[in-house]
C-alpha cells in the first residue's frame, strides 16, 4: 500500500493512527456478527466454486446413477409411491395364476427360457440404478446434489469473472474520464450515454444474438453491457480526488499520469470497488440464471443454476420438485449471504455513509 492511503482518525481516543485503512475496516467488519457469518458462507461457496472449476467436486454430474426422477430417499414412504413401474410389476405377479402353461406347452417357451438365462447373465454386468438418492435425481437419473454443486460452481464462476471484467472495464474508463477530463471525458460520456440508453437486458440479448452461446461469451457480453455503473462511480471519485493535495504532491515529485491514476488515486477508492465487485457478482449470477433460462446462457454441455431452473417447469408438472428446491436453496443462500456481506462491508469501510 502506498503512502497516499490516509489513515482513518483514531477511534475511542486510542492511538490507532498507525493502523492502515484496511486493518481498521477489517476490525470493524469482525465486530459485525452478521457480516462475519455471511463472509463464511460466501467463503464456503467460493471454495465450492474453485473446487468445481478444477473438477475436484461435481465432476460426475453427467453420470446416470439412478432411475429417472429418483425421489429423495429421506422421504422413505413416498419413494415407494412414486415408482409406478414397480407397482405394475407387482400387479403382474399377483395375476400370475392366469398364465398356467408349462414351458413345454408354450410355443415360445424354449426361447423364453434361453432369453431369461441370457438376461440373467447381463443383469449382473449392468450397473444397478438406484431407486432413490439422498437429494433426488433428474430426468436422466443424475444426482441432483452433484448437479447443484457443479451448477453453483459454474454460476459463481460466471458471476465472479463477469464482475472482474466489468469492474476492470468500468474502472479504467471511469479513471481516464474523470482524471483527464476535456475531450476524452466528452467522448467517454457519449459512449456511456449510448450504452445506458439501451436497457441492459435488451443489450445483453442483442450481443448474445451475435456472439453465440457459452460461458466465455456470457462473461464478455456481461462485461460489455454492465460496465456503466462502475464507470459513473469511478469517474465521480476521480473528479473529486484528482485535485487533492496528495495527488499534487505526487505530480510535484514527477509521477506520470498513469502512476497518479493507478498508484496514487486508485487505492483510495478500492473499498468502493470492493463493494461494487460484490454487487456486480450478485447481479451477474442472477443475470446468468435468466440468460440460461431463456436459452442464451451456458450450452447444453454445461450446467448452471439457471439451466437447472429451466428444467423445473416440466418437472413440477410431474410432481418432481427437488431439483428446483435444491437450486433455490443454493441460490438464495448465496445471494442472501452476499447481500448481507455487502451491507457489512459498506458499514466497515464507509462508516460515514448513512444506512
Amino acid at each position: 500500500m502506498t503512502s497516499t492511503v490516509q489513515a482513518a482518525p483514531a477511534m475511542n481516543g486510542t492511538p490507532e493512527v498507525h493502523r492502515g485503512f484496511w486493518a481498521l475496516g477489517w476490525r470493524r467488519l469482525k465486530r459485525d456478527k452478521v457480516a462475519m457469518i455471511s463472509l463464511m458462507v460466501v467463503g464456503a461457496f467460493l471454495a465450492i466454486a474453485v473446487a468445481g472449476w478444477f473438477n475436484i467436486i461435481g465432476d460426475g454430474w453427467r453420470k446416470e446413477v439412478a432411475i429417472p426422477y429418483a425421489p429423495p430417499s429421506w422421504l422413505a414412504q413416498s419413494a415407494e409411491e412414486t415408482l409406478p413401474p414397480a407397482e405394475e410389476e407387482a400387479g403382474a405377479k399377483t395375476n400370475a395364476p392366469i398364465v398356467t402353461m408349462t414351458e413345454a406347452e408354450d410355443p415360445i417357451g424354449k426361447e423364453l427360457a434361453i432369453a431369461r438365462q441370457n438376461m440373467g447373465k447381463y443383469a449382473s454386468v449392468e450397473t444397478p440404478l438406484r431407486e432413490s438418492l439422498p437429494f433426488g435425481g433428474d430426468l436422466r437419473g443424475r444426482d441432483v446434489i452433484v448437479k447443484t454443486i457443479k451448477g453453483t460452481s459454474t454460476s459463481v464462476f460466471v458471476g465472479i469473472f463477469g464482475a472482474l471484467f466489468t469492474l476492470l472495464l468500468g474502472t479504467v474508463l471511469g479513471a481516464i474520464s474523470g482524471y483527464f477530463g476535456g475531450k476524452v471525458d466528452d467522448f467517454l460520456n457519449w459512449f456511456y450515454s449510448v450504452f445506458t440508453s439501451v436497457p441492459d437486458m435488451l443489450l445483453l440479448l442483442s450481443f448474445a444474438a451475435v456472439a453465440g452461446r457459452g460461458i466465455k461469451t456470457i462473461i464478455i457480453v456481461m462485461a460489455l453491457t454492465s460496465w456503466t455503473g462502475t464507470y459513473r462511480l469511478v469517474r465521480a471519485e476521480y473528479l473529486k480526488l484528482k485535485n487533492r493535495e496528495f495527488v499534487q504532491a505526487a505530480s510535484a515529485i514527477g509521477a506520470s499520469d498513469a502512476r497518479r491514476i493507478f498508484v496514487h488515486i486508485l487505492p483510495n477508492i478500492s473499498h468502493l470497488l470492493l463493494v461494487q465487485f460484490s454487487l456486480l457478482t450478485v447481479a451477474l449470477i442472477k443475470y446468468e440464471a435468466i440468460l440460461s433460462f431463456l436459452g442464451f446462457g451456458v450450452g447444453v454441455t454445461q450446467v448452471s443454476l439457471g439451466s437447472m431452473l429451466a428444467e423445473a417447469p416440466a418437472e413440477l408438472v410431474q410432481g418432481v420438485w427437488w431439483q428446483m428446491v435444491a437450486v433455490t436453496i443454493a441460490m438464495s443462500l448465496l445471494v442472501t449471504a452476499f447481500s448481507l456481506l455487502i451491507d457489512g462491508l459498506r458499514d466497515a469501510f464507509d462508516p460515514k455513509a448513512n444506512k
Binding site: 449510448v194 450504452f195 437486458m201 435488451l202 440479448l205 442483442s206 444474438a209 417447469p313 441460490m331 438464495s332
Partner: protein, 312 residues
Amino acid sequence: MFAYIVRRVLQMIPTLFGVMLLVFMLFNVFGGDPSLVLAGKHLTAESLASIRAQLGLDKSQFAQFMIFVKQVLTLNFGTSWSTQQPVSDIIGSRIGPSLLLTGSMLVVDLLIAIPLAATVAYFRRGLTDRIVTICCTIAMSVSALVYIIAGQYWLAYKLGWFPVSGWSGSAWHNLWYYVPLPMLMGLMVSLGPDIRFYRSFFIEELGNDYVRTARAKGLSERVVMLKHVLRNALIPVVTTVMMSLPYLLIGALVLETFFSIPGMGNAVVLAVNNSDFPIIKAITVYIALATMIFNLLADLIYKLIDPRVQLK
C-alpha cells in the same frame, strides 16, 4: 426552459447516432453474414446472391450504414426476416400487451411500496420496520425465475386460481384474467428492492431540519408526513418511475416469455432466437429514443415538484 429543452433535444442526436453505430457494428460487422441465416436450408449460390442484393449486403459498409440511417429517419425498418411482416406492424401489435402488463405492475407497485416505505421509515427501528426489512431481504434473495415457476405451478396449475398462460384480444379481459398472475410474480421481484430504496429516502427526509421545524410549529404528524416529507421524497420516486418507463415498452421479458404474452419482450426473445436482426435493430433504436425522451421528462418533472432544482 425552452432553450434547455432545445439543447437537450440536440444532445440526443449524437447519442442516437452512437446507438445506431453500436447496433450497426454489432449486426453488420460482427454479426456475420445474415444472408446465410436467411437462406437457411435452401442454400444455393443464386439464392444467396439474390438475398444479398435484396438486403443491400453487396454494397459497401458505408452504403449499408446509410440505408440504416434512412430506416431510422423514416422509422421504417423493412420487413421481419422470419415472418416477412413489416417490422412496424409487429412492434405496433406488441406494444399494447407490454404496456398493459408492466404499466399495471408499476401502478400497483407504487401504490404498495410508497405508503409501506413511508410507514416503516416513520416507525424506524420498530418491530414493523424490522419485519418488513427482513421480508424484503428474503424476497430479494429468491430468483425471479423461482417465483415465476413456482407461482405458475401452484397458483395456476394446482390451485387453478389463475389461467396458466395466454392472452386474448380484449384488453379488459386480459387485465382481469391474464394479467394478475404475471403481475403478482413481477411484484414479488420488484417490491422488495423498491420498498427498501424508498424507505432509505424517507428516512433521509425525516432527518432534515424542516421536519423538526414543521413539528415545532405544531403541525400534526399527518400533515408533516403527507405535505412535507412525501413531497420531498417524491424526487427519487419520479426518477425511478421515469427510468423504468422505457422498460415498460420491452415489458417484463421473462414474464412475457413464460406466460406467452405477445408483447415486445417476447418479440425480442423470438427475434434473437431466429436471428431476426431487423426486429432487434428496430426495438433497440425505439427503446433508446424512449429512454432519452423519458430522461428529459424526468428532469422537467423535478423542476415542477421542486422549484429549487436548477436546470442547466
